[in-house]
């Protein structure tokens, strides 16, 4: 019976001690300990999620880079193509312009040549007529000095008429 009868003194001391123990431990031990554990767990969790996020970011960035690179390559190709086309066009245009100019020059040169030629022919004609008149004059002068020669010429002329 003594065994199952709680002694008042022990109940009293137990109440006092346990209450104090609870209060002291709560304030000075369990709170800091539990907080540190929670902090550490939080840190670990955060670090893990950060690592996961970084990994995902890396993959995303890599993909982005690749697409950027592909795009850049495409753009470069397009630019090159455009440049080539432009070059061809410019060269073509220049050629056409040059051809035209050349043609124009040629025609102008031909015209000039024609004009010059005509002028030269005119000049020549004039010279020739003057010369022939002069020759004819000289001949006439010579012929008239010599009867015989006159005779020969007339005869020759006459024979030719025949």
């Amino acid at each position: 019976m003594q065994l199952v009868t709680p002694a008042i003194g022990l109940v009293f001391w137990m109440l006092v001690t346990f209450t104090l123990l609870l209060v002291i431990l709560k304030k000075f031990a369990w709170k800091p300990i539990l907080e540190s554990i929670r902090d550490r767990e939080q840190t670990i969790e955060d670090s893990l999620s950060l690592a996961e996020k970084t990994k995902a970011d890396m993959i995303r960035l890599q993909g982005e880079n690749e697409s950027l690179l592909a795009e850049a390559r495409k753009e470069r190709d397009a630019l090159l193509k455009e440049a080539r086309e432009m070059r061809d066009k410019i060269v073509g245009d220049a050629k056409a312009v040059a051809d035209e100019e050349a043609k124009k020059l040629m025609t102008r040169a031909q015209d000039e040549i024609e004009k010059q030629k005509a002028a030269a022919i005119d000049e020549l004609k004039r010279e020739v007529s003057v010369l022939s008149v002069q020759i004819a004059e000289k001949l006439m002068q010579q012929q008239l000095e010599n009867n015989q020669a006159q005779q020969a010429i007339i005869e020759k002329q006459l024979s030719q008429l025949n």
Partner: protein, 402 residues
């Protein structure tokens, strides 16, 4: 009632290879203990012999380093010489009760006038005298009265004048109180030391002693409290941890047979009663409307209220009551079994000296085995008490009821 929880663990305990190894170790220990015992017993016989020659009272003529052995010394010392004066019969029940009960002095070794014990302060409150404070040494182990008080056979303080019926409030710093204080200081040193080193090693991995204590804390939090209480766990963690550490450390100290331990603190109904009271108050002061509705307006047909409500109210009281009894019974039973095994030696020894020797190896082996088992029980009972407390608290604060 507590045995239900503990049985599965027992079965695994018996089948593990660790258990077999410990049993071999226990056998060796038993052997050495027996040889030591045998050597000592000769000296006991010798002393007893001298005592006989000197013809002093049986109660005071034995000196030995062990309480139990002293009994043995008396027993066969008397029987072998067949002296005329009546030998003090070995009373196992009395011896066991003395060991598991509270006391005003802390008995270390020896018997009678030769015994060595630490006298603890006696603090009494009576209406007529107010507070009286003196050392328990004044009682001279129950042989003397002091200031009108004396010790009765059970070790309780009573009036020397038997006719005085005034009640005495004994708030002495008894053996259990002192043992409890030692345990409490141990807990404080460990826990506060841990908290400080947490502050020092902030953000770093735990090391050293931490690795021993932190798993216990995490175990209580993640496996005991969280599944039962849920998201309100944090509020009750300090209480659960305090209860767990208090019971566990006191249980372990109770297993140490010499001075700082050996007291039956958690096997004392007053201690378990206060622990249960704390849980009772925590549960009912934190009970939400669902908890009270469950008790006073349960989901049953109204005519059944007559039966259900008394049962529910009984349950409110019964839960902490069962907590109190389970811890008390388990720890006290452990102490009784160990003391019982030791008593066997002296019971047989009082019949025949040789028989006493023959039984002792078996007794010691079983005691060592029980000691190992009690180590398990020390943890188990602390765990069970904490777990059930957490479950009761969880039931009281649960939000969404079925």
């Amino acid at each position: 009632m507590g045995h239900k929880k503990k049985m599965p663990d027992f079965s695994t305990f018996f089948t593990t290879s660790k258990f077999r190894k410990s049993f071999v170790a226990a056998g060796f220990l038993a052997f050495f203990a027996v040889s030591a015992f045998a050597n000592q017993d000769h000296s006991v016989s010798a002393t007893a012999h001298e005592g006989d020659v000197a013809d002093v009272a049986v109660t005071s003529h034995v000196a030995d380093s062990s309480h139990e052995m002293a009994h043995s010394g008396e027993a066969h010392g008397a029987s072998s010489h067949g002296e005329a004066h009546a030998p003090e019969k070995f009373a196992p029940g009395k011896m066991i009760m003395e060991h598991i009960a509270d006391a005003h002095d802390w008995h270390l070794w020896g018997e009678g006038h030769e015994s060595v014990s630490i006298s603890l302060p006696v603090i009494l409150y009576t209406e007529s005298k107010g507070i009286t404070l003196f050392s328990s040494a004044r009682f001279e182990h129950g042989h003397a009265a002091y200031e009108g008080f004396e010790l009765n056979e059970e070790g309780k303080v009573v009036w020397a004048d038997a006719k005085n019926t005034e009640s005495i409030y004994d708030i002495s710093l008894s053996k259990n109180v002192v043992a409890m204080l030692i345990a409490v200081f141990t807990i404080l040193i460990i826990a506060i030391g841990m908290a400080n080193s947490y502050k020092k090693n902030k953000g770093k991995a735990p090391k050293g002693f931490h690795n021993l204590v932190e798993p216990l804390i995490l175990f209580i939090r993640d496996d005991v409290a969280k599944p039962s209480i849920g998201h309100k766990t944090d509020k009750f963690m300090p209480l659960l941890l305090t209860i767990f550490s208090f019971i566990f450390v006191n249980n372990v100290f109770g297993l140490i047979p010499i001075f700082p331990g050996g007291a039956n603190v958690t096997g004392n109904i007053a201690v378990t009663m206060v622990l249960a009271l704390v849980i009772f108050l925590t549960v009912n002061l934190n009970g939400n409307k669902y908890y009270w509705k469950h008790i006073f307006l349960p989901d049953v047909p109204v005519w059944m209220y007559v039966i259900i409500i008394p049962i529910e109210i009984l349950g409110v009281v019964l839960k902490p009551f069962v907590l109190m009894l389970r811890l008390f019974a388990n720890i006290t039973a452990g102490h009784i079994i160990i003391l019982g095994f030791f008593s066997l030696i002296f019971i047989f020894g009082s019949m025949n000296q040789g028989l006493g020797y023959a039984v002792s190896p078996l007794s010691v082996a079983f005691t060592v085995f029980m000691g190992l088992l009690e180590m398990l029980v020390a943890f188990l009972q602390a765990f069970v008490f904490t777990l059930l407390s957490a479950i009761y608290i969880g039931m009281a604060v649960e939000e969404h009821h079925h």
